[in-house]
Amino acid sequence: MADHETHDYDVIVIGAGGSGLRAAIAAHEAGARTAVVTKSLLGKAHTVMAEGGIAASMGNVWPEDNWRVHFRDTMRGGKMLNNWRMAQLHAQEAPDRVWELEEWGALFDRTKDGKISQRDFGGHRYARLAHVGDRTGLEMIRTLQQHAVDLGIDVYMECTVTRLLKNGDAIAGTFGYWRETGSFIQLNAPAVIIATGGIGKSFKVTSNSWEYTGDGHALALSAGANLINMEFVQFHPTGMVWPLSVRGLLITESVRGEGGVLRNSEGKRFMFDYISDYFKAETADTEEEADRWYDDHINNRRPPELLPRDEVARAINSEIKAGRGSPHGGVYLDIATRRSAADIHKRLPSMYHQFKELADVDITTDPMEVAPTCHYVMGGIEVDPETQAATVSGLFAVGEASGGMHGSNRLGGNSLSDLLVFGKRAGEFAADYAAKLPSRQVATDADVNAAVTAALKPFETKGGENAYAVQSELQDVMFDLVGIIRNAEEMQRALEQIEKFKTRAAAVTVEGGRAYNPGWHVALDINNMLTVSEACARAALERKESRGGHTRDDYPATDPHWGTINLIVTQKGGKIAIEHKPLPQMPEDLAELFEESH
C-alpha cells in the first residue's frame, strides 16, 4: 500500500489552461468524476497570455465568412500539412464554442448592432477573432475557471504530475507531488487528458512562462504515445527586444490587425518585399491598396503585415540580419502614426500598459521595437482527430500539447478556438471511454515505487550540478542552433550538447527540503525539457525542406514530396526515434476549396 494520498476518478485532466478547463467541464457534464491537476494556481495558466482573440467564422462583421473559408485559411496557413479532419472540425465547431462562453459569462467586445465583435488577424481572410481588447485569453480562462468552480469540479492546484501510471497497456492514473508540501499524490483513473501546453521554455527568447517545459509531451512519450510534427516551432514575429529583462515578451498580432505596420531603420514598410508566390494572389502589393483593405475587404487584398506568422517572422529576421534593424536589434512596429491615441487605448490597452511600465515607451507616440520570439509548438501528441485519443489506451491530449491541427504553422487566433473545440471533444470522449470500460486496473506498487524513487533522486544525488544552469544553457543551445533558421551542422551540434546536458541533469543536486522548493521542481522539469528538445531537434534534422515553422538554410525550398509526410516521434527503451507516416488525404469536396481562384 502506498503511504501517500490517493484518490479515484473517472477522468483526470492535467493542466488548467483553456483546453484543460474546457475538457474538464465536458467530462463533468458527461457524468464523469473529474479532477483537474495544475502546476499553478487556478486561473494563472499560460492561456492568460493569449491576447488577440478566438478565431470563429461567426460572420458578425463580414457575413461572407463561413467555416469553409476558415478551414481554407487554416490549411493554407499550415502549408497544407494540417490534419484536414481536425482543421475541418475546428472551423465548423468554433462559433458554437464562442457563443457558449458568452452564456457562461464572458463579455466580448461588441459590434455596432450588439453582436460579438471580430477583428482582423494574419492569414484570416475576414475579420474573425472574437476578442476583449487585447486580453482575450484572460477573459476566456476566467470564464472557464468560474464555470468549472460553479460546477464543483475538483481542482488540485500547484500539483505537478511526474509520471503517467499504466497497468499493462492501458492508462491507470497519474503520480505527482504537491508543490506546497512536496508530498506525493496518486490519482487513479482509466482516462487521462493531457492539456499541459507547449515546450517554449526550452528556448532562450520566448513568450512562454516557466510552466512550458513540455511535461505532457514527455509524459506521453514515456508512456508509449507518439508525437507528431515536433519540428514545427512557431516564432511569433513580434516579441519585445528591450529592456533585456522582457526580451521575448509577446506583442499581440492585434497591433497589426488594428492597422500597425512594420518598418526598418530606413523607415520602409519592408513587408512588401517579402510576399511569397504562395500568397501573392491574395496580398496587396501597394501601400494604398493595403490601407484601403481595412475598410473594404472585398475589393482590396490583405496587407503583407498580415501574412501568416512564419512569413512575417522570417522577413523581420532577414531585415535585422541585413543591418536594417533598430538600435536594440529589432525592427519597428508602428501603430502611433496609424491610429489615434484614443483608439489605441481602447483596442490595445494591455500593450500600452506593457510598454509604458516595462520599457518607458508610449506606443501612442512612438514605435515599438520588435523581433521574433518562440511562441508555440505546432507539434504534439498524435491524436485521433475526432476523439483526441492518443495511441495509448485511455490517454487523450488536447490544445498545444496535441499535434496535427495546425500543420506546419498556426494562424493567430486558431489556438484559443482549438482549445475550446477539442477540449470539449476530449472531455466527452474521455468520459465515454471511462464509462464503457468493463473493468479498471490500478498501477502496480512497483511502478509507483519507481515513480517515488525517480522524483526523490535529485535529493540523493551529490553530483553538485546546478539545475538552473543546465536549464539556461539548454535554452541558449535550442534558440541558437534549433531556432528560427536551421541547418544540419547546427542541429547535429545541438544534439551533441543535449547528450551532455542529460549527463549533467542526472548529476543535479538540490538544496533545501521538499516544501515549495523551485530548485527541486526545475531539477525534475529539466528532464522533460531535454526530451522535447531532442524530439524537436531530431525531427527538424530529418525534415529536409523548409515549411511553415521549420526553415532550413541548407534546404530553403518547400518540397512537395515532404508535403505528404508527417514525422512521428517515438521513444523505445528510452531512445527517441523518428518515423515517416503518410499525411491523411482530404476528401474531394474539401480539396476543391483549394482550386477555386481567390
Partner: protein, 320 residues
C-alpha cells in the same frame, strides 16, 4: 547599467522566519523578479517564489516591496534610489507557505460563494445582443488578474483574521458589481453582497484601488455604486412599498450564496499516516482554507514588514 543590488528577502515558513540579506548583480531595465530569479539561480536554489507570466498578466507574483503591495514582475528596479536596499516580504494577509509564497485559498473559497452569471433562459445560441456602452462597466472589472493585492491591502482583513468569514473583499465586490451591471444577468445579488459578504464593512479608504496593477477603479466604480444600489433596494420607501403591494417587480430574482454545496472542490495536500512529508509545512488537521494566518510577524521581523507597509500607507495618504 549593471550594478550590485542589496536585497532583504523574507525567508521562512508557517512556523516563522526572518529577513536574509543578499547582494545580487542586476542589469539596466530589470524588475524585482529578475533580481530574485538571479538570486535563486546562483545563491538560493530553494527560494520559493510564485510566478508565471512575468508580464503583469497572470497576477501570480504578488508580494510587498519596501512595504508596498506590488507585482514583482512589474516593479522596475529603476524606481528605487541607487544604492537603496530593496526589502521583499510575502503578502501579510494570507498564511505563509514558504518564503514569498502565501496560501491564497481564502480567495478561491470566496469565489465559490458568488452565484454565477445567470442568462435569460430564452436567450441562447449566439443571440445575445448587448451594446458596447452597456458592457463597458463590467468589462473594467473583468480586467482583474486575481493578484489579490487588493485583498492583501484591505484593512478589514489585514491583521483581522476574525473578519475573514464575513468579508469577501474588494476582488469579489468587483465581481458582484460586474454581475450586477451585466445587461443580461437575471440574478440579484445585492442583499447577499451586503448581508453575507460584508460589503458594508468597507469604509471606502480606497487602498485597494491604490494597489491595483490593472488600475481598476475598485472603490469608485464598483464598491460605491454597489453600496448605492443596496441602499436603493433596501431603504427606498417607494421601492419598498411598491415591492410589497406588487406594483414593482424586479426583473432580477434575489439569490443567496452559492456555497454550502458540500466539500470544497479546491483540494489541499493531505496529511498522510506514512509521515513521508518530513520537510513539509504542516497544516492542522481539519483546518479549512481560512487557515489561521501564519504571518511573518514573529518578533522584530514582522514588525519590520509592518512598519514598511505603514510607511507606505501613510505616504499614500499624504500624497492623495
Amino acid at each position: 547599467m549593471a550594478h550590485d543590488l542589496h536585497l532583504r528577502v523574507w525567508r521562512g515558513d508557517g512556523d516563522g522566519g526572518d529577513f536574509v540579506d543578499y547582494t545580487v548583480p542586476v542589469e539596466e531595465g530589470e524588475v524585482v523578479l529578475d533580481a530574485l530569479h538571479r538570486l535563486q539561480a546562483t545563491q538560493a536554489g530553494d527560494l520559493a517564489i510564485r510566478w508565471n507570466c512575468k508580464a503583469g498578466k497572470c497576477g501570480s507574483c504578488s508580494a510587498e516591496i519596501n512595504g508596498k503591495p506590488r507585482l514583482m514582475c512589474m516593479t522596475r528596479l529603476s524606481i528605487f534610489e541607487p544604492g537603496e536596499t530593496i526589502t521583499v516580504n510575502p503578502m501579510r494577509t494570507f498564511p505563509v507557505i514558504r518564503d514569498l509564497v502565501t496560501d491564497v485559498s481564502f480567495n478561491f473559497e470566496k469565489a465559490r460563494e458568488v452565484p454565477s452569471f445567470a442568462p435569460p433562459s430564452d436567450n441562447v445560441g449566439g443571440k445575445f445582443r448587448m451594446a458596447q456602452v452597456d458592457v463597458d462597466r463590467s468589462q473594467e472589472f473583468r480586467k482583474c488578474i486575481e493578484c489579490f493585492l487588493c485583498q492583501n491591502t484591505c484593512h478589514v482583513i489585514r491583521d483581522h483574521e476574525e473578519n475573514k468569514p464575513a468579508f469577501a473583499g474588494p476582488r469579489f465586490f468587483i465581481r458582484y458589481a460586474e454581475l450586477d451591471m451585466h445587461p443580461l444577468d437575471t440574478h440579484d445579488r445585492k442583499l447577499m453582497a451586503q448581508e453575507q459578504e460584508g460589503l458594508g464593512l468597507c469604509n471606502i479608504t480606497k487602498c485597494c484601488t491604490e494597489v491595483c496593477p490593472e488600475n481598476i477603479r475598485i472603490t469608485d466604480n464598483a464598491i460605491i455604486p454597489m453600496k448605492e444600489r443596496v441602499v436603493d433596494s433596501k431603504y427606498d420607501p417607494v421601492l419598498f412599498l411598491g415591492s410589497k403591494i406588487g406594483m414593482r417587480k424586479s426583473d432580477r430574482s434575489p439569490v443567496g450564496p452559492a456555497a454550502g454545496r458540500g466539500v470544497s472542490p479546491i483540494k489541499h495536500p493531505e496529511k498522510t499516516a506514512g509521515g513521508e512529508v518530513a520537510a513539509a509545512v504542516a497544516s492542522e488537521p481539519g483546518e479549512s482554507a481560512l487557515r489561521k494566518a501564519a504571518l511573518p510577524a514573529a518578533g522584530a521581523t514582522g514588525a519590520a514588514a509592518g512598519v514598511g507597509f505603514l510607511a507606505w500607507a501613510l505616504r499614500r495618504r499624504r500624497t492623495s
